[in-house]
Amino acid sequence: MYTSAQQVVTPGFDLEQVRADFPALHQQVYGRPLVYLDNAASAQKPRAVIERLATFYSREYANIHRGVHYLSQEATSAYEATRETVAAFINAASTREIVFTRGTTESINLVAATYGRRNVGQGDEIIISAMEHHSNIVPWQLLCEEKGARLRVVPISDEGEIDLEAYERLFTDRTKVVALVHVSNTLGTINPIDQMIELAHEHGVPVLVDGAQAVSHLPVDVQALGCDFYCFSGHKLFGPTGIGVLYGREELLDAMPPYQGGGDMIETVTFEKTTFNRLPHKFEAGTPNIAAGIGLKTAIDYVTGLGLDNIATYEHDLLRYATDRLLEIDGLRIVGTAKEKTGAISFLLDGTHPYDVGTILDQYGVAVRTGHHCTQPLMDRYGIPGTIRASFAFYNTPEDVEALVSAVRKAGAMLA
C-alpha cells in the first residue's frame, strides 16, 4: 500500500525530460494546469513527431509509389521505412505482413469484410468477448447479419477477467473466427491472449487481436503470440491520427480478396480484367495519409528509445499508486479489478453520476473520460450507465494522481 508519491518507482527514463518533450502537457485549462488522463482515448505527441510532420510538409512532400522524381522517391522511402519500423516493433516476419489503414477500426473492418466474407457462412460462428470495444463487435455483427452467422460471447468475471473455461466451451465445428481485445480500454484488463490463441488454433480457428490499448503499454511480439491478425492505431501510440496498422500472417493475407479498389492496389488494369498488387499494397488503395505514416515511425522510435520494458515497469507502479489512493476515497468503487491490468482505471463514486463527476473534474483541469467508452455491452453486463475513466501514459506522474484524487474528493463533496 502506497502512502506517498515518493514510493512510486523512479522510471528507467528521465521523466522530467520526457514531459518536456510533450508541448501539450504544459498548458492551462480554466486557469489550472492540465492533468491529462485520457490517454486511452488518445495520446499526446512528442515534439519530434510534431516537427517531423512539419518538416515533411515543408520540404519533403510528394505523393508516394511509382514516382520518378526526387521528392516522390524520398517520400516513398520515408513511408516504407515506417513499415520496416512497425514490422520490427511487433516482430512481424516481414513487411509484407504490415498493412497501413486509418486505424484499428478500419483494420478490423478490413478483415471482417475480406477474410470474414470469404470464410464465414450461414450457420457459422464468431467468438468475441463481453469486454470488446464497439469496433471489435459491430464489424462482426454486420458480417453475421449478412451471412446468417452468429456471434458467441465469452463471459467475464465481476473482476473483469475472461472466463477461460467458458471460452473453451464456446468452440464448435462452426466456429470460424475469434476476435479478442488484448487490453480492455474500459477495464484495463490484460487478457491472456497467448493462451486463448493457442486454444483457438487447436480448433483450427484464426484469431484477430485488437491491440489498440496494448502497444503503448507493453511489448508485443506477434510471432510469439501466434496471432493471425493484430490491429492498432497510431494516435494512441503518440503518433498522428489517421494511421493504423493491420498485421496479418502472409499466408492469410495472400488468400484474402482486396478490400478497397483503386490506385496502388493494382498491378494491371483493363476493362476486361484487373490484377492486383502484391502484399501489402494489395490492401492499400489510393493515396494514404503519407505524413501520418511517416510521423508514426518517429513516434515508434521515440517509444522504443524509452524502452517498453521501462515504460511497463513505471506504468505498473503508477497504476498501483493511483489505485491505492483512489480506494482511500469513501464510496469509490473501481470497475475492473483484474490481476493483470494496464492503462485504465474505471471507477464510480457512490450516489453520483459519472457525467457529473467528470464535468467537475474538468473544471479542475483534470481530463478524464466518462460514459460507456464504446463498450456498451460491457456496461450492460455490470448494470451501470458508464464509468469515470482515468487512463495513464508514461508521461503521467504521481502528482497527476494526486490532482486526480483531490479533484474526485471535491466532486464527491459537491455532489453529496
Binding site: 480554466y30 453520476h353 457525467y355 464535468t359 473544471q363 460514459g371 450507465p385 459537491m414
Partner: protein, 149 residues
C-alpha cells in the same frame, strides 16, 4: 433561495431573476454548486412519464422532459439521473413552463450565456441542454399549430 414565479411572470423577468441569482457567485464552483442545488430541488418525474417519447437523445445521462398543454399554456416537468443535467432542466422549466406555446417556440434563451457557465453550456457538451430546449420548443410548436387550427 430563488423566488417562485407565478405563471404570469414574463419570460424576460424569469431570465433576469436567474441571472441575478447566479451573479451572487464569484467563481465556477459556486455556480455549479447552485446549479446542483437547483437540480436537487426539482421534484422527481413520475415514473410513468419516463417514456421513450419523453427521453432526450444524445446525452450521457438519462434525461426526460414531459410536457402538457392546458388552457392555452404549456407546462413542463423534467428529470435526469445526473445532477448537473437536472439543474439545467430545472432552469429550463423555470423559464419556460407555464408560458404560451408561441412564447416558448420563439423564446430567446439569453440567460444561458449570462449566468457564467458558458463553457459548460456549449452545444458540444452531451448534457442534453440543446436536446431539452428542442423538445420543449417542438411541443410548443405543435400546440401553437393546434391553436391556430
Amino acid at each position: 433561495m430563488h423566488t417562485l414565479m407565478s405563471n404570469n411572470a414574463t419570460l424576460a423577468d424569469r431570465q433576469e431573476a436567474i441571472v441575478e441569482e447566479f451573479s451572487a457567485f464569484d467563481d465556477w464552483m459556486g455556480r455549479y454548486e447552485y446549479l446542483i442545488e437547483l437540480g436537487k430541488s426539482l421534484p422527481p418525474l413520475d415514473e410513468k412519464y419516463k417514456t421513450e417519447e419523453n427521453k432526450i437523445h444524445g446525452c450521457q445521462s438519462q434525461v426526460w422532459v414531459h410536457a402538457r398543454y392546458e388552457d392555452g399554456r404549456v407546462f413542463f416537468d423534467a428529470d435526469s439521473d445526473a445532477l448537473i443535467t437536472k439543474g439545467l432542466a430545472a432552469l429550463l422549466v423555470r423559464v419556460l413552463s407555464g408560458l404560451t406555446p408561441h412564447e416558448i417556440a420563439t423564446a430567446e434563451l439569453s440567460f444561458i450565456n449570462r449566468i457564467g457557465l458558458r463553457e459548460h453550456l456549449s452545444p458540444t457538451r452531451k448534457n442534453g441542454l440543446n436536446g431539452m430546449i428542442l423538445q420543449m420548443k417542438r411541443f410548443a410548436l405543435e400546440h401553437s399549430q393546434a391553436v391556430k387550427n
